[in-house]
């Protein structure tokens, strides 16, 4: 099980991509061209959720608070 988990509020996302650049673990990517949320924006998806460390960097950079990050409390 991944150490971290992100929850994306799709309709808050504006597809700016700032979080992508911040994630060192290539967890996320944007939705396909043409696939957009109710405001017309492409949005963030967790393409490789298993890689998520729960470091929270993505959420730190998100201007729209579209990402919630959870981290495992279990010591590994």
């Amino acid at each position: 099980m991944a150490k971290g988990k992100i929850v994306i509020d799709i309709d808050m996302c504006k597809g700016c991509g700032l979080c992508l650049a911040a994630c060192k673990f290539a967890v996320t990517s944007l939705s396909q061209q043409g696939q957009s949320n109710k405001h017309g924006y492409r949005y963030l998806t967790a393409a490789q959720p298993e890689q998520c460390t729960g470091c929270g960097m993505c959420a730190l950079m998100c201007p729209d608070s579209a990402i919630t990050v959870w981290r495992s409390t279990k010591k590994s």
Binding site: G34, H39, G40, Y41
Partner: protein, 178 residues
């Protein structure tokens, strides 16, 4: 005769250039024209639209509450403007991106696979030209020649070589519309 047109779409879909081209073409033909952009903070959030009035008489307000023509380049624009069209008006829908169908019996909807057609010609961003072709076909607001002249007048130097291609794409729209 007065045509009151709203062109609406997502930023980058070229609705403003569509509008200015039409306005210029109207001027070329010696008609009364006004062009009115959405401006200020309303530009935010991706939506863009503009209003063009082409008329034989002096034009009242260039802001139009009851358009006779609406061009909806995407779904959000379709949702916003379908209801505003005046009875008997024409609704041009970019069917490539809009999945909805017109629900008003008192208007005529025209579906054009504009983005698709443009993509086939090598550039999806020319979908606006496809739609413009469709509009002038069904409204006869201005002639193709007038639009061509308008292109020569308004395209910046470096885009002038593209006039031919734009015209061609527009004509495809002209043909597709019915």
């Amino acid at each position: 005769m007065e045509h009151r047109c709203i062109f609406a779409g997502f930023g980058g879909q070229g609705v403003i250039s569509m509008g200015t081209l039409l306005a210029h073409a109207g001027m070329v033909e010696g008609r009364q024209v006004t062009f009115f952009p959405s401006y200020g903070i309303a530009m935010r959030g991706g939506m863009a639209n503009c209003t063009v009035v082409v008329s034989d008489d002096e034009i009242g307000t260039p802001i139009v509450k009851d358009p006779t023509v609406v061009v909806a380049m995407d779904e959000a624009s379709f949702d916003l403007f379908q209801g505003r069209l005046s009875a008997g008006g024409l609704l041009f829908v970019n069917a490539s991106l809009v999945n909805k169908r017109n629900s008003r019996p008192d208007i005529k909807a025209v579906y054009v696979n504009a983005t698709e057609i443009a993509l086939k010609q090598g550039d999806g961003r020319m979908a606006n030209m496809v739609m413009l072709g469709a509009v002038i076909k069904l409204t006869r607001m201005v002639s193709i020649e007038a639009v061509e002249k308008a292109m020569h007048k308004t395209f910046p130097q470096k885009l002038q070589p593209l006039i031919g291609r734009n015209l061609q794409v527009m004509k495809l729209g002209f043909e597709a519309a019915q």
